[in-house]
Amino acid sequence: MTLDWFSLLLVAAIALAAPLLFAALGEVISETAGVINIELEGMMLVGAFTGIAGALASGNIAVAFASALAGGVLVAAVQGIACFIFGANQVVAGIVLNILALGATTFLLVSALGADVTKSAVTLERLPIPILSDIPYIGRALFDQSIAVYLAYLAVPAVWWLLTRTRFGLALKAVGERPAAAESMGVNVLKSRWAALLLCGALAGIGGGLLTLGGLGVFTPNVTKGIGFIALAAVIFGRWKPVGAFGAVMLFSLVDAFQIRAQALGLPIPYQLLVALPYLVTIIALAAFVSRMRPPAALAINYER
């Protein structure tokens, strides 16, 4: 394991973390306002699907990401209608939406895309930043990625600013902690929660889109493989803070990138253990920190006037 090896590990981890980061940041916003999205995985899966569908239909990467965003928002909208209008339990609705997203995308893959999964769509090009990308060891990892990866990292301070420095962010916090008090102070609880939920859908949709449009170029059934749940765990592990979620996502991605590289080194470790390593680390980290965690007080509780 040379310094070069670690530098390439960082390249892989940074790219790997970006889709997770979009979803986790979206969920931070939503949970701050008291709305939990178990269907984060479904939002990503639908985004991954509509992203590829948009790319195949238009051949344009911007249109593709716009469709990915729309896909995530669509799932969020269904969740909102079920929970805010019909008063469904947020967790139950989320579970149902995950099943629906898996079924619908797999079904549409065959009926709409004609199951021609081998057909490669346009994918995002790398956009190296001059001079910075030549910095030894970290330049390639930090400054030779695609625009979406840069945006994922810029979104961390942006979401922090949104939640702590704007009226909108403060309103979300109030709505997530004590909605009745917020309402009496003139904050529209329902509107705030809708905004947070749809924003989460948009970000998770982009994250899912990045998964397929960021290099894979194809959609395969259940392509997200549960990373939406990892993003969900990252929000808890990151204590509902953007920077915390960023740290959790990076930890998971670094371990994941490490395990897949460690195998190729020929270490005498059963591969099953290496494959499980990122999940083990996540569970251990969650278990170690969970006692000190306090979720938003009104999380997952529907607001009734």
Binding site: A12, L216, K225, P270
Partner: protein, 342 residues
């Protein structure tokens, strides 16, 4: 409150129906009778149970080809079910047996347990599992192939093509049959170039293209320029890694799918199981079926074990065919190695 319960029920029903439509169900599709085949009582009825989708350009596509071969060559009433969850296998076996199918084929060793149980319940129906070792001496048979022989030839190609002296394989899961194939590739590469560096990674999931892409990129970062695969949907990730890097070639398997990524897929291992199912069906027709396990080596009239493509140098291809002849004649003794890493 009543509205809420109703809504939840409707949503659940809808979701489950959608996922059922997506193919994760166990309902056999209607069989397509063979064109020109007689639909009389003597027509053989065969059903194939696939673990994935026929669109994978690999293992499951060859399952579909098997159905086509049985219709064409045997005039059989042959059908298939895609994406059968191994947990639901017994139910699917039962449904076909109850519908009076003569032979039900489990496409992959993961469908062994259900076949064992179904064979006991339905003594008049025959069950066959590919890539498996189960048998009961009456109505349950299985076969596998000496995968190491096929993959040795592919490994030889890889060793010859590589300019960096580093080659590797991205696989899904390790068990006896997949290990024998992967270790055969390794031994073939080392036969071509004893100093070659061999890299191996199991992603833990045949169907995960993202993980496969990362694994492939990790190998490329270590200097690998020829990669083999043992994946289903995951193969797209390896091919994509090949396309994203200059001078990286990929060797796929099951059938010639080089048209999906010309210039990147340099060859494929020609090892479709279709013909061997035909051998079993012929036994049923001849009345010589015994319910036994069989292992097939490369038949003498198999043709090339690796497919030729425009990017594969002809001299290397010809040398690979020589190696195949030597493997077939026993001049090269390929050792079956079923060990997994760790």
């Amino acid at each position: 409150m009543r509205t809420r319960h109703l809504l939840t029920a409707v949503a659940l029903t809808g979701a489950l129906t959608m996922s059922a439509c997506a193919g994760a169900n166990g309902t056999p599709e209607g069989g397509d009778a063979a064109e020109g085949g007689s639909s009389g009582e003597d027509q053989l009825r065969v059903a194939v149970i696939l673990p994935g989708e026929t669109s994978d350009q690999g293992f499951n596509t060859t399952g579909e080809q098997t159905v086509e071969l049985l219709q064409k060559d045997f005039g059989a009433d042959a059908t298939l079910t895609e994406s059968v969850n191994p947990a639901q296998q017994l139910d699917v076996y039962r449904q076909y047996a109850q519908q009076g199918y003569d032979l039900v084929v489990g496409w992959g060793g993961q469908f062994s347990d259900g076949a064992v149980a179904a064979a006991e319940e339905f003594p008049d129906t025959k069950f066959l599992v590919v890539s498996s070792g189960v048998e009961n001496g009456s109505n349950l048979a299985s076969y596998d192939t000496a995968l190491e022989d096929w993959h040795f030839i592919a490994g030889y190609l890889m060793g010859r093509i590589s300019k960096t002296g580093v080659v590797g394989q991205v696989s899904g899961q390790c068990f006896a049959s997949t290990a024998s194939g992967q270790n055969g590739t390794r031994d073939g590469a080392k036969y071509a170039d004893p100093d070659i560096t061999w890299l191996a990674t199991y992603t833990g999931d045949f169907e995960d293209p993202t993980k496969a892409q990362q694994a492939a990129q990790a190998m490329i970062d270590q200097g690998a320029d020829v990669l083999a695969t043992n994946l289903n949907q995951g193969v797209f990730g390896v091919v994509q890694a090949g396309e994203a890097n200059d001078d990286v070639k990929v060797v796929t398997e099951w059938l010639d799918n080089s048209a999906t990524a010309p210039g990147v897929i340099v060859s494929s291992v020609n090892k479709s199981y279709a013909r061997f199912v035909g051998v079993q069906v012929q036994k049923i027709i001849d009345g010589t079926w015994k319910g036994e396990h069989e292992r097939f080596t490369i038949p003498a009239d198999w043709g090339p074990a690796v497919f030729q493509t425009d990017t594969l140098p002809d001299d290397i291809y010809q040398d690979a065919l020589d190696v195949q002849a030597k493997v077939a004649s026993g001049e090269i003794d390929v050792v079956r190695d079923e060990t997994c890493p760790g």
